[in-house]
Structure formats: C-alpha cells, structure tokens
Subunit: 353 residues, 4 copies
C-alpha cells in the first residue's frame, strides 16, 4: 500500500510503498477514506526537539486522525464488522494500570500513541485495536468524521469530568483560536453557555471564531484597556466561570486567571514549552480557582458527546468551516506548510493516492 512514512530521524517524510498491515486477534484493518493533520504531525514532520526526544520507532507511518471503513476484523473482535465506518481514538492503553482501572484510561501510565509509537493512518490502510475504533454514522462526511479526535479535546476541555459543573448558563473564555479553540467555541454555545469570549491575534482565526458563535473576539495586542478588563466587560462583569487556555502563550496563562470569577475553573490544554511564572497567591489560592490539565479526551464519554454534536446539521457546518483546506494526501508536505505558517486552520487530507 501507499503511505506517508518517516524514514529517518530528520525533517520531512516520504510517500512510498510499504506492506499492508495485518490485524491481530483484537484488531481491525481499516481502509482510510480521509485523514487530517494535527499539530503533532507537524512537529514530527519538521522534526523539532520534542520529536527527536519522543520518537523511538523509525520507519514510522505518520498520522492519527482518520475516517475509514473496516475491511477485516481479528477473530476476537465482537463489536465491529466489515463495512463499519470508524474513526480512531489515538491513545492505545494497557487497560490494567491504576488509571485504566479507575475510569481514567485516557491518562494510562503506559499509553502509546498512534502515528507516534505505532504506525499511523496517513496510508491506504491502517490497523486499529478494537477498543480504539469508534463507530461512525455511515452518513457522516469522511472529512468531518476524521476531525473527531481534536473535537474530543475541545469537548474534554469544556467538560473534563463527570463531576464538573455543566455549562448551562456559564460564561466561558477561550484563549487561542486554533482548530481546537474554534471547536470549543462552537461546542460551548451548543452546550448552553451564556457567553463565549475568545482571544486571538490572527485575523483569519478571529474571523472564524466569530462564525463559530463567539460573542466577542478580542485581540490581546490591540491597545486600550488591559485585556483581562476587556474580557470581563465582554462577558458581563463578574468574570468568567470557565476559561480554556488553548494558545500556549504565557500571557494567556495570566489572563485566564485574571479574567476568572472567584471559584471559577480553568482548563489548560496549550503547552508552554518552558516553565511559566504565575502569581499563584492571587491567581489561584485567594481566588479559590480550580485548574484542570487536559490530556486527550475521556474514553469514551467524550466521544459520545462529540457524536451528539455532530448529529446537529448546524454544528457540522461549523466544523466544515474550520477545515479551511483540502489537500490530496501525496501533497502532505504542502499541508504541513499551510499549518506551520498559520495560513490554515484545519487541513483535511484526501485519499487520492
């Protein structure tokens, strides 16, 4: 089969012919109908220091976001059949560690990642463990079905645990309008948030944020009142109840706490790459703030929430807008460039080999 392969520990990758993989007893073989590019894929492509430190398996088929059709099932598989349409949860877990045994599989101690530790999905075919294959409505467009995993990140940031207060009537801040931030805006409005304020410097993304339903999109670098004050003003005065940091920018780390109402909660998804400085006393302790680090998405409570969002035509249209570019998969290098240069929000890869 054809696949996008990292053949050496350095920048770039190759489209080349590799053997079609064979599913094990509890795995399925999937024909890939569409895939899409995540920031992680770009890190691997440009081979940044994180990639150098993280990757052990070379050669490696890249990619983890997909939509496909099951073409073969292992003999122990019971919940899937040939012809089923599926997407993938990327986190391959052991099922027996403390986290897995206590309802937190998504932070498995021995997690392995599709397209990082195992061969991925930028290929004609891919193998998925039965547990990681999520059955789709066959009517769902492949390019939409493919982006469910980052959509899961967005939803998980909004609703990290069963125990979290729901969004009904809450005021929400999203800092950073990359694809996941955009999805979070649309999901927050759909789940009943009263007000959603976003921050973003890039005009393309700011425009998309408005189309997602953000009540206000603020540029933190614009002059005028301090940004925290502007966020408070745009969200009704008392501060936001829920803030999602999705930019990885140190100034936004300050902002999510400054704009928060006492007792509010913050989800941190963005990575800062280096230690950050925070006035812990005022940001957190005296404000009785609650912070949740976000890694992956719940397996699979979040996926059911995503499914429900995608059952709404209006929501699907919003997701379609986030996919700003469609690129035939052999031109994957161009897709990487579009994202790295921030000309694109989400890039879909067409299975035209």
């Amino acid at each position: 089969m054809q696949a996008v392969v990292k053949t050496r520990r350095g920048p770039g990758g190759e489209v080349k012919t590799v053997p079609t993989p064979v599913p094990g007893d509890d795995e399925v073989l999937v024909r890939v109908r569409a895939s899409s590019v995540c920031g992680t894929d770009v890190h691997l492509w440009v081979w940044n220091p994180w990639a150098e430190a993280r990757v052990r398996k070379i050669p490696l088929v890249l990619g983890h976001e997909l939509s496909g059709e099951v073409v073969q099932v292992g003999r122990a598989v019971t919940s899937l059949a040939v012809g089923d349409h599926v997407s993938a949860e990327t986190h391959i877990v052991d099922g027996t560690c403390y986290q897995c045994r206590t309802g937190r599989m998504h932070i498995c101690e021995n997690v392995q990642v599709l397209g990082v530790d195992h061969d991925g999905v930028f290929a004609e075919f891919a193998v998925l463990p039965e547990r990681n294959a999520w059955k789709n409505d066959p009517a769902l467009a492949p390019e939409i079905a493919s982006v469910q995993e980052p959509l899961g990140n967005a939803v998980h940031s909004l609703l990290p645990e069963e125990t979290d207060e729901d969004l009904a009537g809450r005021r929400v801040l999203v800092t950073g309008c990359g694809p996941i931030g955009l999805m979070a805006i649309a999901a927050a409005k759909t789940f009943g948030a009263e007000t959603v304020v976003a921050t973003e410097v890039n005009p393309l993304r700011a425009g998309l944020a408005r189309r997602m339903g953000a009540d206000a999109v603020l540029d933190p670098t614009a002059g005028g009142a301090p940004i925290a004050e502007r966020v408070r003003e745009a969200s009704g005065g008392r501060g936001v109840d829920v803030a999602l940091e999705m930019s990885g920018h140190p100034a936004s780390l300050q902002l999510v706490f400054e704009a928060l109402t006492a007792g509010g909660r913050v989800s941190l998804l963005g990575l800062f790459d280096r230690p950050a400085t925070l006035d812990v006393d005022n940001a957190l302790v005296l404000k009785a703030a609650r912070v949740q680090g976000i890694f992956g998405r719940r397996m699979f409570t979040t996926w059911y929430q995503v499914k429900s969002l995608l059952a709404r035509p209006a929501f699907r249209e919003k997701v379609a807008e986030i996919i700003t570019h469609r690129v035939p998969i052999p031109e994957v290098g161009r897709a990487m460039e579009l994202i790295a240069s921030m000309q694109a929000a989400k890039v879909s890869l067409e299975a035209k080999w």
Copy 2:
C-alpha cells in the same frame, strides 16, 4: 390596594381592597407588573384536601409567580434599589438549619411559601425578603419574567445538583407536557441534549411539545408496541440517560424506569397523591438507576441557568408559546377554570385592575 384574597376556608376567592403591605428592614416592596398561575394556586382556589390541610393563614393574598418593580427598600437592604425589576423565589427560608447551612436552602426544614404561608403576589403590591427577590433584565417582558419560577423547576429537574452529569449528548425522556414539562423539553434541547422524547395524551400539549423541540411526542394510550419500547426506539435504542417524571401518573412512574438505560438517572417532580407500586428490583437495583426527588429549585444556581436561557431570543419565543392565555387579573377565576379544565398551558395575569 387591590388584591385577590382567600377570605374563607373554602372554594373561590375575592378581588378586594386590602392595606398595602409595608416592607421590613430586609424586605422590599414591589409593584406587580405581571403574575401567572401555578397548579398550587388552583389547588388553593378550588380548596382541595391538600389546601385544607396545608393552609393556616386566612385571609391570604394568593399567588407567587410575578414580575415587578421595586418601589421601596428596607433599611438593611443592600443589593436592590428602587426601580429594579425583580421576580420572586417562592421559598422563604430560615438560613440557619442543616439544609440551609449546607448549600441546600431550597429544602429548608422550616421553609415558608409565598402565597401559601405569607401574603402573595396576586395584588397591586407585594413584599419580598431581599434574599427572595431576583433581579431581572429590565428589557425582559413582564409576562415572561413572571414564569421564571416554574422554569426553574424544569431546569432543576434536568440538572438537580452540581455533581450531576451534564446533558451534553444525553438522551432525555419527559413524561407529561404541562407547563413545566414543556419548559423542560425546550431547556434540554438548549443545553445540548442529543434527543428529547416526550409523552402526552392531550393533543394541545402534544402539539406544544413538538414546537418546544421534542424529537418525538408519544401518546402512551395509543395502540401498538408497549410505550417503553416506543420510547427506546424513538431515542436510539439503548434507553434514555435522563428521564423526568412530570405527570404524576403511576403508569409514567413505571415508564421512566423501563425506558432508562442501565445507570441512567430519573428526576421525579410529579406528585402521585397516593402510594405507588414499583418493581424496585428491576426498576432500580439491578439497573443501578439513580433517582432524584425534585422540590423547588436551587437557590440560586438554577436561577442563573434560567437567566441564561432567557437571554436567548429563540428560547424566549418558546416560553411565550407556552403562555397560551392572557387574562386581566380581576378575571382570575376564569384563569383558574382554564387550567383546571386543561384548556390552557400557562395563563398569564395582566395587571389591569
């Protein structure tokens, strides 16, 4: 001032002149701009056995749902000023019992009820404790603002505690489409429920349920498959995640459990008037069901959720549809009749004395 007064322990009531009340130190005086009729008011009006057993204060100004304007404030009042628009939380609580001291004021051990234990709001003026006065957006139409309290019941039934799983992506059943059931349907859809199925025998109410956004409205008395089966089919097969019993009908008590998925939750708001029989083993124990009795609404988390719903024009339009009749308050007897005979959903009382 003019007021609707229960002057004797028996059916009916009188529109008559009574002294305008005087607010205490921590109370406000409100000029009533609109009020609305609740089932409780009808019980008091027709003087059923519950009323005979429950009411101690006669004469009694009736009514508890209102929208009004503050015209005088007690000297200890700090959060309200003359000119503020307010509605009322009906539950007057002691603030010092175990429930009040542990975040559950709405089930205060010594709760007293406006229009039952204290003079109510079917009058030109009414007195409210500062704590019970909820500040409205002045732009909110008085007749809409007046029905926030039952809307609070609906929202509280959907989201009884902070700790309850949110509605995002859930399948919901509402049995009984009186005003609160109708409001619950509209609120569930707004808060992100995937599917809402309702049951109702009355065609007027069934029609309204569809306009509220119910995905299916089923008549339990219609022939064909058993109703639990029809609910399952209409909600996607695996059973509903959340069921709201709002009819007070014993058959619906069975239904909410039969239609529930294992581990789902049930809110019980309807009163059955007599002991009910339930197959506790299969309905509850073996299904690991969770049940919540619903009394009032959280003070005031639920009110913030209600406020957020009413900030949405589309939601306000739905509430306006539930108000099927507007009656000048001196004709309150006709309003009672419209509800008792189930010709009306919600009846608004116009302050035209």
Copy 3:
C-alpha cells in the same frame, strides 16, 4: 481436578472430578487457596425459581468468591505473573458497550457472571480473564482475601459514584446486618462517618453489628416508638444523611426514606422479590431524596478502596469476625445449610479436598 458441580437443573450439587480448565490468551489459571459462599450460591444450590430462570449452563462449577495463586498465564497477559496472589471480580464484561465505554463497566449490558454463566471457583483450579483478576498482597490471609467481592458491594453502597458526597461527618443507617451490611458498618466508621445506626432482628447478627462499630443496633420488631423515630433519635435528630437498604424487607424500604434527612441519599442493595409499595410523594419528591440502585461494585475504583480498608489491621480483624464458620469445601452442602438457616454470617470454604 476436584470441583463442586451443579450437574442437573434441581437442588443440590456434587463434588466430582472434572477436567482442569485451560486459560485462553488473555486469561490466567489460578489455584484456589480459599473460597467463600455468597447468597447467590445458596440460590443456585437450593435451585429456587430465580436459578431456574437464570441458569443456562449445566453442568456448572459453582462459586465466585476466591483467593488463589496464579499458576499459568495466557500469552497476551501482561499485568500478572505466575505466583501472583489474586481474587476475582465476578462480572465478566464486554468492554465495548455504552456502559463499558463510559466508565460503568460494572453494569455492562452483556455482563456474564462467574459461577453462574461461566464455571466458577469452588474447585481446585479456576480460569479468570486477566481484567477480572485483582492482585492481592501475598500476606493477606486467603479467607480474608476471598471475601473482597462482597466487601466491594458494601463499599460501593456507601460510595456509589465519584460524585457522591463523602462520608466524612455523615450519619448513616444500615438496614439489615447480613455479611454485606456488617461490612458496610465497619467501612462507614473507617471512612469517617459520624454515626452509624443499624437495624436487625437476628440477635447473632445484631451482636456482630455492635462489634463492627455500630453506634446503635435497633430491632424494628421491638415495641416502643416507631422505628423511624428511634433511628432519628439514635442518630442525632435531624435524620440520617445516607441510608443503605440491605435487608430486602418492604418495611425497611419505608424506613430508609422515613429516617432520611431532606436531601439525603439512599442506596438500595437488597432485593425485594416482588413489587413494593412506596409513598413516592413524601418519601422521595417532597424530601428531595436521592436514590441509587446498587449492582456489583465499580471496576475497579471500589477494589482500591477495599484494598485500603484491608491494609488496616483493625479492619481485617472485623472482617475475620464476620466469617463465623470455616468448612472444608467437600462439606459445601453444610455451608449452604448454615447460611440458609441464618446460623452463620459468612462461611469460608477451606481448600481441603
């Protein structure tokens, strides 16, 4: 190997020689060091109507509570090794249904039960799926390790969900002091409950309840004030915060609600065998009670809680007291009789073939 086998659809069972089972790829073979008898085993032994309706597999090796040592592991097993000491979670789940995929494996739609649907553990050897094998501290006495599963029922009844209020400072009622009720009393005290009141008619069990740490043990059939009043008095007046129904007696179903404080919660574990009648209005709705049906125990959050209890010497001593009888396994019929006649609390089966 030797095993206790149900050889025909009727009362009793046989100790006979059967082939030693062979573990599959994701299973382990365990040498049984101790087992113990559950009420379910008695139902199967006497072959009551439930057993007739429920059991499909005959011949069937009985039993599901055990402590043993791993003697062989399937080739896909990663978390266990030969020599590990284990007990068993009885619920064999599919891992892919809605419940399993949303953190509620213990109520799997397709659950199968060890010793009911699969050959059980009243044998020299037993096969367990890797997922169902719970690793024990090797220093834990086998007869104690064997009763972890019912201890899990007790703990799960006290703490049904992550989201439930903790027991710190709560007042608890346990109706019915069978083995699980006794364990619940001891666990509630260890988890910080302020007061634990129990009800029981059998003097042996009532005595054990006191030794478990119950602050009061009341006989509902004794004269004097109504039992709900006596429970309130014994628990400080305002009613209990948490009530556990573990008797399956209709009068206790009434009691748990009557004795409950407004807004309290009830766990229902006991089975009533027939529909029960309940004053739903006063028991549940107006009291804003919360009810949780209890089936199994969380996989495996509850097991970690159990492990922590058993790490305390004082708690282990209490569990040892609940095991009132030790019987060599070939005399299993006598063990059944001891339980059926309520002469015993828990009966341990010694692996002396």
Copy 4:
C-alpha cells in the same frame, strides 16, 4: 471590657479598656471563654506590608478564633439563645453576590473578616452575626472549640467540594506541618486515607506530624534521593492521589506536582508571597492534574465535618497536642513571639484578664 487592641498603624498592640459592643438585630454578644492565635494575627501584630495594605480600621480589636458563650441575642435572631456555646466563622459575607447565591459563600465578593475589618475576639466580649456563630457541644473544651476555624481550613483542603473524590483509600501528601498541616494529617487518617506522607524541616513539627498519624515524615533538605522520589517510595510507588501544599515554599509547589499520580489533585493553601515558576506542561497539562485554591472553608458543610471529627475522643486528643502552649491573654505579645519564632505550633489564649 478588656481587649487586645491595635491602636496605631505599626508593630505591636495594647491591652486596654474599651466599650463592650452592642449586638444588632441579627447579631449575638458572646463572652469569650478561650481564643487562639492564627498566622494572620501575627502579621497584624508585627505589621508587615500585607497588614499595612490590608487594614483600614484602626483602632481594631484583634483576633478571630474563639470559643464563647452567648450572653445576649438581637431581636431577629432565631437559631441561638443565651447560654449557647459558640465558635465563629470568620468570613462575614453579603449573602447576595454571585458566589453567595451559588453555594460558595466562603468566597463572597464582598467578604469582611473578623479581627481584620471588624473588631475581633481577643477581648472579654465579642459581637458575631447570627450566621457566623457556630453552635458547639457545651462539653467541648473551650481551647479545642476555639481552633475549629483552622481545622476547617485543613478539612476544606482535603475535601474542597462536594464533587471531589472522597479520601477512602487515597494516598495523601501534606507539605508543611504548621498547625493546619498537622490537623490535615490527623483528619486525612480519620477520613480513611490509606497513606499520609508529610514533609517538614522543623524537628518539633515533624515529631508532631508523626503523632498525628503520618505514615512517613520526610525532611526535604536531608540528603539522599530527590524528595519527590522519596515521597513516591513512602506512598507506595504510583504517586499520591491528593497533595496539600501548606508551606508556602516554592520548592514544595514543585514537589506536590512531581509526587502526584496522573489525574491526581492538589490543594493549594500556602501563600508564596511572590510569583512562582512552574513547569506547567509537565506538572499540570500532561499529567492531567487538578488544582484547587483554598480560601476559608465551606459555609457550613466543612463545619459539620469538623464537628464530627471533634466528636471522636482520639481526634480531640490529637488536636490538644497541636496546642503546644497556653498563655494568659494579657501576655498575647509572648504568644505572638512563640509563633513567629516557630517554637510553638498552636498557641491558646486563656481568658484570664
């Protein structure tokens, strides 16, 4: 009456005669039987920069921890009577802000503090709002009753919200063994924690930590393996589930995250006085950690939990050990010195004027 008064904006204070205060309608007058010294009192006494910036009212009667007897009640007071024994919740709240109206009174937007914004309790008599007076068991020793407020901080740090996972079976780390840290250790053990590890450099406090029941007390400055590694080892290997930062030391801020298991939770009570630097990516995001800032204690859920702890003789004995010194109140300056120099844990002030 006699009182300890801050008479000028500078170090120290005076014991002098001031008018006995008069309770308002919703207040009570209390004769102080015992009081105790908090770190805040020391800040006010030495008049550090925080005190200079924070205090507006001079002269000011100092102190907020007390035990006393009600000697007069305002005419609107219903829940207290002359002769009742009470302690004080220090946070005087408005009851009408967003936080107060949503069950989070302890972080009231307009909170005022006894002994900081209002005259305090280092006096013969003190006035308390009815809401702030917590009724004690009259048999509780005054010096123990007086320290319930910091004990509330300890319990609130362990159990910040209804929705938090309980402590049953959890592994807990407490960094810093001042009075609140010591109380947290004792409370964690009482609430069923499996293991409690503490860190402390001061040998007096480390010794007390052991007496509180800590399974291990580690000195972070001692040589050997890195402290995070030693904490993991002492707590069973997988990391702690719950970590309480109570030292205000930047190194401990790192430690609580390093020692945490993935998905664990951290409560931050200690103040760091200056911005701190944190590797947010690894500490929080990738670890899916949850952090809760701790301010005050829940009003009054936490107080009920405290009451239950103090109902246990063994727990009361532990609290008595934390009170290392008893000083007649006119020697309050010496009490301040004992704390500032870390020679004392908790200092009780005897009402011997």
